[in-house]
């Protein structure tokens, strides 16, 4: 059995490699059709993400990996419980907002950072809880609820930036986190801060939580089906709430860390442009990492590299931003496919096992 599972993962890695190639090829086609040079574009992409001769770029890759580790974990936990929480986007917005609120409060300096992280975490948890309550108590589909809540969160931060939390000198962003509330950088003159280390620690903690604690066990039991959960003496509604609260808290913390640990702005910019999209990218990260907290880490680095490399594509090959985004999206989708089919196949097997044979 061990052997067959090992082979399974080996095949998976092969599939990921293939997906990367297919994604790159499709992207190249688009770049070429747009009249640009794909070779130049991809050289730019790799030079500014995984460049072995300049650590600045790899640091940038890891700084992009940081937020999507959190949103990836949010999705992974929910998906282990058989729930499709795609609200990490909004939960991350609320977390970032929480940190900005603390930044605006003139707290004594040693308090700023911990308060910012705690407030962000709690606001993310609250945002998750709302969707959780809808699902647990009224059986509202979580996809609908979380998508709606994403938009509500978006407009709340836009409102906050315009009225009250905006930077009085610079219209296009909120108040910045004061120097005392910022996380130290891991590598000088890069965007990589302690936030990345926190993300790694949290991923490991989530792994321990899911596989070593009673609540984590319950969450995974719920993923096996409501019938089994009830048989085990578990109240599915309560576990559903846990899933949303914990997931929201993780994305909320991720959002707060963007404010406390991401140069240069340390703030939310217009239309949330510096944090938008991480929530959804987290879904891809989670699928690529097979919804496993530890595997999410390498997955986040691959996808972080894509995000970081987009600038290089723009600068080196003069590919316009819109096209860079399209290519990026294409490669991310291609990357999610093997993970999705892997998870889906297991789910199919599970379902086939459950839906018995009729005589």
């Amino acid at each position: 059995m061990v052997n067959s599972r090992f082979t399974e993962y080996l095949v998976y890695i092969g599939n990921v490699a293939l997906a990367i190639l297919i994604g790159l090829a499709l992207g190249a086609l688009i770049i070429w059709l747009g009249g640009y040079d794909p070779v130049k574009a991809y050289t730019g992409l790799f030079e500014t993400s995984f460049n072995p001769s300049d650590y600045y770029y790899f640091a940038s890759t890891l700084s992009y990996a940081t937020p999507v580790i959190f949103t990836g974990l949010t999705f992974a936990i929910s998906s282990r419980a058989g729930i499709f929480n795609i609200g990490a986007e909004g939960q991350m917005y609320m977390g970032a907002l929480g940190a900005v609120i603390v930044a605006s409060m003139n707290l004594p300096s040693p308090l700023i950072l911990p308060m910012a992280l705690i407030t962000g975490t709690l606001m993310g948890a609250l945002w998750g809880l709302i969707a959780g309550l809808f699902r647990a108590l009224r059986n509202v589909n979580e996809v609908v609820a979380t998508i709606m809540l994403n938009w509500i969160a978006f407009w709340i931060i836009e409102y906050a930036r315009n009225y009250g939390l905006g930077d009085p000198r610079r219209q296009e962003k909120t108040i910045s986190m004061p120097i005392e509330g910022r996380l130290p950088l891991l590598v000088k003159n890069t965007e990589l801060s302690m936030a990345f280390v926190i993300a790694l620690v949290i991923a490991i903690l989530v792994y321990i939580f899911m596989w070593r604690t009673k609540i984590g066990y319950y969450i995974r039991v719920l993923g096996a089906g409501v019938k089994t959960a009830k048989y085990a003496g578990i109240d599915p509604r309560i576990i559903t709430l846990y899933v949303f609260i914990i997931g929201g808290a993780l994305s909320g913390l991720g959002g707060a860390l963007e404010i406390c640990g991401r140069p240069p702005t340390y703030a939310i910019t217009t239309a949330a442009s510096n944090i938008a999209g991480f929530g959804f990218t987290g879904i891809s990260v989670s699928l690529l990492g097979l919804n496993h907290p530890i595997l999410i880490i390498p997955a986040s680095v691959i996808i972080g590299g894509l995000l970081a490399g987009s600038r290089g594509m723009q600068i080196k090959a003069k590919v316009p931003l819109e096209m860079v985004m399209a290519v990026q999206g294409l490669i991310i989708i291609a990357l999610s496919v093997p993970g999705f089919t892997f998870v889906y196949r297991r789910w199919r097997i599970k379902k086939a096992l459950r839906g018995g044979e009729s005589a």
């Binding site: 059995m1 009673k214 995974r220 089994t228 096992l353 018995g356």
Partner: protein
């Protein structure tokens, strides 16, 4: 046999399923034009399998099917439809959010039948349904009619109904029977699959009785009676040879009082059941599947909240307690479906604490971490004591054979040292050795002073193991008896819907 008006002739039909189950052992069946033909039998008799063959859903392993004088080999339901054969299965197959009309015309090939056509059809056959109503808002009785109309819209003249009265109220059943008679007048032929003797006597012209894949008889309804049908339907095949020390009931373990439980479809599935079980006793619940047994078990375990009634365990009212508190007080539940009892993707080890971790403080520390060491010990203990064959406790449950999966479930539940054990179909699908093993375990539990509630549709199992047993029919107990004081005929009658009192009072 039919006189000059034979529509369907099935000759020497044998059906062996890929897993080796022999469902039909050489069955002959004939259907005449314009008759309602009852197909009577208990679970596993082969009724549905036989009709699935006729409707093109299954292929026979051997045997001949002749429809309207032509030898046929159906490869799909569409083939059968071309010969005018349509089946309405137990699980209603309508689209809940479509209207009745949309559902009726859904299966049609080519041009969709017009509204006028369907309205005319309804008048002709006397089945009137509100065509614009959305199906999920309709009662089960009306849905059944929609199903039949759907078949008629496909020009079906041989209609097969599989247990059509299951979720219907008595008045809806009367309505349905009226419709069936009208259809017969219009020249349709109907096969009516059921285990309900009363209904067979009420609505059919002829009846064929199946038992364990064999025809026990085919008679004209007017020339038979409930007792004769019951005798054909039920028979003890083998006396189970299980050594059982004498019955020594030792105090009341469980009292169930006027229990009423809702089924999944929003219709009560248990309709007022009362009984008590003693320590040192196996209390059996027999009956054809789907008569409320599962809902009863789930209510006892606390998974389903009862509508009414009381459950008292060991002197305490547990009606309002949740599942884990009942487990904590010594209740163990072995459900029918192993895919519910075990998480197939989880390892044997991870399946070990499933029903215990919610209440047993020894398995979890104060911080909420699982005590892996304790659980490993427990897991090893179960494997050793109950002879579960697995490469290791880290192997996923799905890699175990069915018998070993069941041993794991039973072992896990018994290791908790429960006082009251509810076992539902505990030997289904197991091989002979595993079956015997599980049965012996239950007897051992009973003899060591525990109360065992055995719910099974395997009559031999109930009669062989129980000290007392009840026969459940349509959500009620038809009687509570001792196995050696009951005849096959009485059993058959109770399973077919007559109470023990009625039988004894010679009202049947």
């Amino acid at each position: 046999m039919c006189v000059d008006n034979s529509l369907v002739l099935m000759k020497d039909i044998v059906k062996v399923f890929p897993d080796g189950t022999i469902a039909l052992r050489g069955v002959n069946f004939d259907l005449c034009k314009g008759e309602i033909h009852g197909l009577l039998g208990e679970n596993g008799a082969g009724k549905t399998t036989l009709m699935k063959i006729l409707a093109g859903l299954l292929k026979p392993t051997r045997g001949e099917v002749i429809v309207k004088g032509r030898k046929v080999k159906f490869r799909s339901p569409a083939d059968a439809l071309r010969f005018g054969i349509g089946i309405v299965m137990q699980g209603l197959s309508l689209v809940p959010v479509f209207t009745a009309y949309e559902n009726i015309v859904l299966g049609s090939r080519g041009t969709k039948p017009s509204r006028e056509f369907v309205e005319k059809l309804m008048k002709e056959v006397g089945l009137i349904v509100p065509l614009d109503a959305v199906v999920e808002n309709l009662s089960f009785g009306v849905r059944q009619k929609v199903e039949i109309l759907k078949m008629l819209a496909l020009n079906v003249d041989i209609l097969i109904l599989d247990e059509p009265t299951t979720n219907l109220s008595p008045s809806e059943i009367r309505e349905l029977f009226k419709s069936l008679r009208k259809l017969r007048e219009g020249g349709k032929s109907i096969v009516f699959i059921t285990h309900k003797i009363r209904e067979v006597l009420e609505v059919t012209d002829r009846v064929t009785v199946l038992r364990k894949g064999r025809v026990m008889g085919s008679v004209e309804t007017s020339k038979t009676n409930p007792r004769e049908l019951a005798k054909m339907m039920v028979g003890r095949e083998v006396e189970l040879l299980i050594e059982k020390p004498p019955w020594r009931p030792n105090g009341v373990a469980l009292i169930v009082d006027e229990l009423e439980v809702m089924g999944d479809l929003g219709v009560p599935a248990v309709k007022g059941v009362s009984f008590s079980v003693n320590y040192g006793e196996i209390f059996g619940v027999a009956g054809v599947e789907g008569n409320g047994q599962i809902e009863l078990a789930e209510a006892l375990a606390g998974i389903r909240k009862p509508l009414r009634g009381r459950i008292v365990m060991n002197g305490d009212d547990i009606t309002k307690l949740d599942v884990s508190e009942r487990y904590n007080r010594g209740l163990a539940y072995i459900p029918e479906d192993r895919k519910v009892a075990l998480i197939m993707e989880f390892s044997v080890l991870e399946n070990t604490p499933l029903t215990e971790i919610s209440y047993n403080k020894e398995l979890v520390n104060r911080m909420g971490f699982m005590k892996i060491k304790r659980i490993v010990e427990k897991s090893m203990g179960i494997i050793k004591q109950y002879g579960v064959v697995t490469p290791s406790i880290y192997a996923p449950a799905r890699s175990l054979s069915g018998g070993n999966q069941q041993k794991l479930v039973v072992g896990r539940e018994l290791m908790k040292d429960p006082r009251v054990i509810i076992a539902v179909q505990p030997t289904r699908g197991l091989d002979v050795a595993a079956t015997e093993y599980v049965r012996n375990l239950l007897v051992k539990m009973r003899s060591s002073g525990k109360a065992v509630i055995l719910i099974s549709s395997d009559l031999d199992e109930i009669l062989g193991l129980s000290d007392r047993f009840a026969v459940m029919y349509n959500g009620r107990f038809m009687g509570i008896l001792e196995p050696d004081k009951v005849t096959d005929e009485e059993l058959g009658l109770m399973m077919g819907g007559y109470t023990y009192e009625e039988i004894k009072a010679r009202k049947v």
